[in-house]
Amino acid sequence: MPEATVTANFDVYRYDPATDAAPRYQRYTLQLAPHTPVLTGLLRIRDELDPTLTLRYSCRSAICGSCAMLVNSKSRLACQTPVGPEIEQHGRIVIDPMRNLPVLRDLVVEMTTFWSKYSRIEPHLIDDPAHPMPVGRETTMSPAQVERFKETPRCIACGACYSACPAVEADAEFPGPMALAKLYRFVVDPRDGARRERLVKIQTEGLWLCLRCHLCTEACPKDVQPSQRIRDLKEMAVAVQGGTEPGSRHAIGFKDNIRSTGTLNEMKLVRQTSGLLGMVAQAPQGIKLSRKKPEILHAPKKIEGQEELEKLYELLDDAPPKEEP
């Protein structure tokens, strides 16, 4: 079925740190059917126009995870992104390497940090001496237990989430969405013996650095929904250990504030999150803020309809706990 082609102008990031003083964009033009994947375009450039264009690719069917890159500034798999809509929306196809990882050459980034954060969450089953694996046969796992993995088994470790994550950009210690989604996969695994230890450990190893912006979920080509799984990890961590970190104490305090008055008591929340000493340390900012917003010095009154809110909380309290399999 011959299909009308469109002019596809690719502006591709080129940079060889060994020889180039600075990165530049190179324009390549092809005639392509609109449904052609960006990767196919880039490989045609390699085959027909410029064999020096450098990128990672392999399966071309969104399963090997090699070709994550920025397509018009969004972290995508090049093989899964058709050129047509990009051209319609942006007039051209701007290709950059993933963010948050150093460039090795052109679109190829150094992924060592990404992989080491993945291994740091101990991505393997840890024996449970109380429940050894059955001998000579598989573990029994109900379809409901399989369901609890959610979409995490679909992760192809492409790094698109890591590239899209502002928390990674802000704090090198943040494990990143992929590693945390992977951690979730082990935490809910009925075969794993270290559920509690994993949750306790991650509380102090970056779980609460997530900004809840959901850009990872937006970027994920396999619908793994890392941000939702990070939220689940936070709930489960608080359920097994309570608030031990500023992050978890902040979340608990926030809920407690809203429940009691329907609004935030910011002074109280600071104390709940950081403790008395922390409050003293933050006093200079507090004083500055109170000049602009004097109301923060007074405990807020209950809002109108707080009783309704309390009823909602009671309903939530009665709901079955999320974290038990």
Binding site: M1, D16, P17, A18, T19, H35, P37, L43, R46, D47, E48, P51, T52, T54, L55, R56, Y57, S58, C59, R60, S61, A62, I63, C64, G65, S66, Q80, P82, L104, R105, D106, V108, M111, W115, S119, P123, H124, L125, M133, G136, R137, E138, T139, T140, M141, S142, P143, Q145, V146, F149, P153, R154, I156, A157, R185, D189, R191, K222
Partner: protein
């Protein structure tokens, strides 16, 4: 100079399983791979892994189905071993952490597959390869080994009648290295990219098979190339046999369920060679859709089943073809999918060179014979990966120290640097595209003698031109142009072996269908093709098929 006890080349399921076995023997193991292990093509396997673990099923039936599927070219002793190992292998992978789909009773769910007497294909939705690859990678990650990630294999070092190591180059820095090893395991997967229309990943370029061949190892049954019946039109992206296992049906342009004419008992679930020939025949005889394809219909299965059990397929169709399989038929045509042939090994993974082992799709034991059954390849990677790793470890314990010399390295770097130094010559991509065109057009499902002869002429002409291939990219860092040149050279060698084997085999068996010899000829041809490299191209000889309990019969599905 780097030195290890065992070097495994390739980090898919076979390579990783081999490495795990060698590590378990307490050896210093290295994996050399051109892709990060999780990027390996094993991860693209969709439908499942066979194991006769159901109450109504039996290992004997699995053996019989595999023997019949192989069109009696599979070695029956190897097949018996293979099928017996299936249950323990799947259980081991489950214990390693694989997330399989489950039945209501919590046991491993099973689906029907082509050519199988019972539903015995255990699966993880339609991403079984990915599920296994993740679990094995994560299990292997708890062990100590050296990973040479994004290194390209250029050749094997064989001296004094045994393997001494490999030469490889580090893409990131562009440096060549000779790595000494007392044993080497080739687990580099297939060479499907010899064809243009293939379900295989771009990385499937047969590097290890070609290096073994170049070093003098025999290749077995290379002319047997499997065409998967259902690849998405145009992109040739695989649509799993599991789609038909779940109840999907094939229809021609007049809406006829044509498989009834070709496989009156099992319809769409005949073995792959049978279904691919049927589709091809329908299209060639004018019963296909305009543009040459047939339809795979899933709509009658209902949204829930399609979206849960064939989730990736749904995504593929929506992303890559703009088609929703819940409401529309999928346009499909056969495409190259699997190589039954490979580096000849025995049941222990030993090749014809001492110290050289092989497993997975790169190898040929042979358990698939002339046609592989769906669900048997994932199993093969694990069963024979472990065999090869254990054999390599046992060999290594007794082998003398390996010796590699500066000369080994210089010879390779000299050969390869010459590609970069010349000022004119052809681009590897040009040669690769022409080779793919030749194979697509002349060495397909139905093989015509005159076309095969022409294909051989064209491949040999391409090999001659390859001698002046030019690498235009001068950068040392991540020079994919150089990788492309090496891969193209590997594929041209193997293409020649495929075509030479196909010309010589004057019968039709499994995936090898000669229009001039439409019948199987057990009297002359129930034997393996063995190809070794000579100055004039592949030298062919033949080896007997191991035979235990199953008499050759006509195959009817």
């Amino acid at each position: 100079m780097q030195r290890h006890d065992v070097v495994v080349v390739g980090a898919g399921l076979a390579g990783q399983r081999a490495a795990l076995a060698a590590v378990a023997a307490g050896l210093d193991v290295a994996i050399v791979t051109k892709l990060h292990p999780l990027r390996s093509h094993s991860g693209a396997a969709q439908g499942g892994i066979n194991a006769a673990v159901g109450k109504e099923d039996s290992v004997d039936t699995h053996i019989y189905d595999t023997v019949k599927g192989s069109d009696y070219l599979g070695d029956q002793d190897a097949i018996e071993f293979f099928c017996r190992e299936a249950g323990p292998t799947v259980v081991e992978m489950e214990h390693f952490g694989t997330i399989f789909s489950r039945g209501d009773d919590g046991s491993l769910a099973r689906r029907p597959f082509g050519g199988a007497g019972f539903p015995r294909t255990i699966y993880a939705a339609d991403r079984t390869g990915l599920a296994l690859l993740q679990a094995l990678y994560e299990r292997l990650g708890t062990e100590a080994f050296t990973l040479y990630e994004e290194w390209d294999l250029t050749s094997l070092i064989v001296r004094d009648g045994r393997v001494q190591g490999i030469v490889a180059f580090d893409r990131r820095h562009g440096d060549f290295a000779a790595i000494a090893a007392r044993s080497v395991v080739i687990a580099t997967g297939p060479a499907g990219r010899i064809y243009g229309r293939t379900t295989n990943a771009h990385s499937c370029t047969g590097d290890g098979i070609a290096a073994a061949y170049d070093a003098g190892a025999a290749l077995k049954d290379m002319e047997f190339v499997q065409f998967h019946p259902t690849a998405l039109l145009e992109s040739s992206i695989l649509i799993t046999e599991g789609a038909r296992g779940e109840g999907g049906i094939l229809k021609n342009a007049s809406g006829e369920r044509f498989m009834a004419r070709y496989a009156p008992h099992v319809f769409d679930l005949a073995s792959r060679d049978v279904v691919s020939r049927a589709i091809w025949t329908e299209v060639k005889e004018g019963r296909g859709f305009p543009g040459d394809f047939v339809h795979l219909e899933l709509m009658h299965l209902g949204r829930e089943k399609i979206e849960s059990r064939l989730q990736e397929i749904c995504d593929f169709c929506r992303s890559f073809a703009g088609i929703d399989p819940v409401t529309e038929p999928i346009p499909v045509m056969p495409a190259q999918h699997y190589m039954m042939g490979g580096v000849s090994t025995n049941i222990r993974g030993e090749t014809t060179i001492p110290g050289l082992f092989s497993a997975g799709e790169a190898a040929c034991v042979s358990i698939h014979g002339a046609n592989r059954l769906g669900g048997n390849s994932l199993l093969e990677t694990l069963v024979f990966g472990k065999q090869a790793g254990e054999s390599a470890a046992a060999y290594t314990a007794k082998a003398p120290a390996a010796s590699v010399t500066a000369d080994d390295l210089d010879r390779e770097t000299g050969r390869i640097r010459a590609m970069s130094d010349r000022k004119d010559g052809e681009a590897p991509a040009k040669l690769r595209l022409e080779m793919q065109h030749t194979m697509d057009e002349l060495v397909g499902i139905y093989r015509v003698p005159a076309e095969l002869v022409e294909a051989l002429r064209q491949i040999r002409a391409l090999k001659a031109r390859y001698r002046s291939v030019r690498v235009e990219d001068t950068s040392k860092r991540y020079n994919l142009n150089l990788t492309d040149a090496l891969e193209t050279g590997h594929m041209l060698e193997l293409a020649e072996v495929i075509v030479a084997g196909a010309i010589a085999r004057t019968e039709s068996r499994g995936a090898h269908t000669r229009v001039d010899f439409p019948k199987r000829d057990d009297g002359h041809w129930m034997r393996h093709t063995m190809a070794t490299k000579t100055a004039d191209g592949p030298g062919l000889s033949y080896a007997p098929v191991a035979y235990t309990r199953w008499e050759p019969k006509e195959r009817v599905y």
